[in-house]
């Protein structure tokens, strides 16, 4: 049927079939007294609600069993285009690496509301907002793009991050065997997929994170707070200040969000926004021509989106002392960036410092990016193969620094 293998061997496939209660109260079956059942829906209660452009009530209240119950896309089997309601597609200047999967991101801000701009953090989205990200594996990474008919990309999972009254909630949906819909799998699972990257076939046991693993990356614990909130990672000014091809033509994403009425408070001059430079796999071949300063910006941007959601004082890796947000000044925070810094929580490897200037091969940061061994590899979650292009960037960045043995 397809040009490539996609045996669906989800470890957790059966978990949510028999009992909704086992899936964290999903399904909204306990809300059937609201009586808005629709004959076309797979679910009852609020998840079966068919009123409105999207199922806003379910988004704010219920962990539906099926992704389709939220009615986020015109075609329930295609989460890569044509969002319903106020849905807006977005992309980041530099993405988080996820085993070479393609990603399709959408933001849905409730009617008549808008997110508030923030210089460094994720925008302050109103309650009711949902961020939707679909992971899809191309048959060949040279030819990305989802086409339900051509079937060159295989849908894997769609993650919802919903801003509810009490905070953000992450829900992982895994696409079913016939790709007609995706089902909630709070315990995650493994999806074997295959892709070709630079002519080499990669057989990947793609790992859908469980709900608690979602939080490991998406947590934000403010200094002095006892609350470890869930936070989105991507929709920050520095990652969105770029142009994107919309149906209406090419436009800066922040400008587009303003024009759509979903973002307020943006500086009038977008050039004043410190922006992560674009780095995609095809850019690796251009690294040789980059100046040291360009490498610095590219590397800091890469480390920001790939590492700093944990490696920041508010994140899961706060205890490591390695803190690498893009806005953190490098020259006055060398140790925070790992330069000649001894590892705090790294038990393996024969290396001494996170970053040895001028010596990528002896830098733990580089080593852990080059490893696929559990306990060695970084990031811990969301990666099972090496991101060769990311590794090359970080290697060149470290080697561009003035050599220092750190001893």
């Amino acid at each position: 049927m397809k040009r490539f293998q996609f045996d669906l061997k989800l470890l957790g496939l059966a978990l949510c079939v028999s009992g909704i209660a086992a899936c964290g109260g999903g399904g909204g079956g306990d809300r059937s007294d609201e009586g808005r059942q629709a004959s076309t829906s797979k679910e009852s209660g609020v998840c079966g609600d068919t009123s409105g452009a999207i199922n806003q009530a379910a988004l704010e209240d219920a962990d539906c069993k099926y992704l389709s119950s939220y009615r986020l896309f015109a075609d329930a089997s295609n989460p890569t285009e044509n969002p319903n309601g106020r849905g807006v597609i977005y992309d980041l200047t530099t993405p988080l690496f996820s085993d070479y999967a393609s990603k399709y991101r959408f933001v849905f801000v409730p009617d008549a509301e808008a997110a508030a701009y923030n210089e460094h953090e994720v925008f302050d989205f109103p309650v009711g907002t949902v961020l939707v990200k679909t992971f899809s594996m191309p048959a060949d990474t040279a030819f990305r793009g989802f086409d339900a008919n051509a079937q060159d990309e295989r849908l894997i999972e769609t993650r919802l991050l919903i801003h509810r009254e009490k905070g953000w909630v992450g829900l992982p949906y895994v696409w079913n065997d016939d790709f007609s819909d995706a089902e909630l799998q709070i315990a995650g699972g493994v999806v074997p997929v295959t892709t070709v990257h630079n002519g080499v076939q990669l057989d990947i046991d793609y790992r859908v994170p469980d709900k608690n693993q979602c939080k490991q990356c998406h947590q934000y614990k403010a200094s002095g707070s006892d609350v470890s909130a869930i936070s989105p990672i991507g929709p920050k000014a520095r990652l969105l200040n770029r142009s994107l091809d919309y149906a209406s033509g090419s436009e800066n994403e922040l400008s587009h969000w303003i024009s759509k009425g979903i973002l307020t408070g943006v500086p009038s001059d977008l050039n004043t926004i410190q922006t992560v430079p674009s780095y995609h796999d095809s850019d690796a071949s251009l690294l040789a021509g980059k100046s040291d300063e360009e490498l610095m910006q590219l590397a800091k941007g890469y480390l920001d989106i790939n590492c700093s959601h944990c490696h920041r004082p508010e994140g899961s890796a706060s205890n490591t002392g390695l803190h690498m947000e893009f806005w953190r000044d490098f020259d006055t925070n060398l140790t925070k960036h790992g330069v000649c810094k001894k590892p705090i929580a790294f038990g393996g490897g024969a290396l001494a410092y996170d970053v040895v200037p001028g010596d990528a091969e002896n830098s733990i940061l580089h080593y852990r990016m080059s490893s696929t061994e559990p306990g060695e590899l970084m990031p811990e979650l969301g990666r099972t193969v090496v991101h060769e292009e990311g590794l090359e960037l970080i290697g060149k960045w470290i080697n561009s620094m003035t050599p220092d043995s750190c001893d």
Partner: protein, 499 residues
Amino acid sequence: MTGQHWLKSGLAAGALMATMALTGCGGGGDGSDEGSDQAAGPQFPAGAKMLAADNLTQDAKEAFINAQSGDVIVFPEGRFKISDKLTFDADSDGDGESVKNITIMGYGKGKTILDFSEATGGDGILVENGVDIIIKDIGVYEAANNAIKLKDTNGIHIQSVATVWEGVLDKDNGAYGLYPVECENILIEDSYVRGSADAGVYVGQSKNIVVRRNTAEENVAGIEIENSMHADVYDNVATGNTGGILVFDLPIGNGHYGSTVRVFDNDISNNNQENFANASSNPAGVHIVPPGTGVIVLSTNDVEIYNNDISDHKTTSVAISSFYLADENLDYSNPTYKPVIDDGWNPVPRNIHIHDNAISDSGAAPEGSLIADIITGYVTNYGAFPAVLYDGLGELLANTGTVEATAGAPFSAEDMICAENNSDVSFGQVYGTSATDPDNFDGSMMPKARLLFEASQSTLLNCATPLNRLTAATATINGKAYGCDSGESGDASAASCAL
């Protein structure tokens, strides 16, 4: 003074540079006794979530994700391969409402064994953002990185848990067995840790810690308290490790620095294992621990080591050191250290009290690359290596008043390193501590190693002003206080507290 290369220049001037071949001494225990479970059978409360043996990884994940306050999650009896890291976050939804009082347990630490040798995650069990977590009667084996890690958790009771890497002691074993970090109110008791390529019990960047009645066997470090405050370590057995019990304060730059640590009434013996940590050149990684060391205090303030039985260590029984020994490039002018010193880290230990320990059979065959020059100097000059060793360098530099930004102010009486009534063993101090004694400096006014030695303690660490006893640590879990001054009833280690 520049802050550079004191140690080397001092040693070059002060130590006889004769060479001596130190034997390899491949000692180390071969025991694999995992301890015995308590005779009583497992007791599970009504309503306990009994996980099924089939599909255990996914069932455990579901139970962890769906846990409600008061849940008892029971792993089945037997040994099971777990396929992924098991993460418990007490606030899965991040709404600030944590589920509390969660128990994760098995049928006994030798009866329920979770084998992570084929798991895709680095840690075995990871607990985050917990409030009152009880882990007991379970074994966690062969994790790629850490066996049980707990982060940002307030209230941890680990009881009768085993974390084990079996077989040959190897650098590729996991790092930490029981590993709370950035936590508070921690009680670790009656547990067994074996085979860690770093530390068996490792409490880091935490406070209010009680570690008692555990057995740490054949790890690089048996028990390590690092960058933590208010910790009591008592009535444990540390044997067959490279170093028995370590109290370290490292330059992390994270606002967490150690103080008020009491190590007492432990049985610390035969920690002569070859160091099998990775051969990292990290200045303060555990690979620097000299094989054959009982207790090490590095950089930490306010430590009391008393009434321990410290026997059979081929290098030294108790070592107290500033961070200068770990890294001669330590200086406020060094950009590696400036931010962490600004952050509150102190590289020079103060107020260290070593008393009433029974120390025996120390220094028969000293080794350790970090202190190779010191060993050579002592052995050459005295034919012996001190059972109690103090570097003295940090104190000397502090007393000069010239490097206050790095070493702190000159020592006052309450800052001293003091020892008394320790079995009349030998004492050594690498540097003199008086800034007014010209013998402590070379011609360039650089500190000069003295390699002071007393076969029987006389003036070294002999303080005119007695140090104050430190206060006990208390860990409060589920509203109940544990520890020496907690008013706890039925503590099997109460006799230790009376010391």
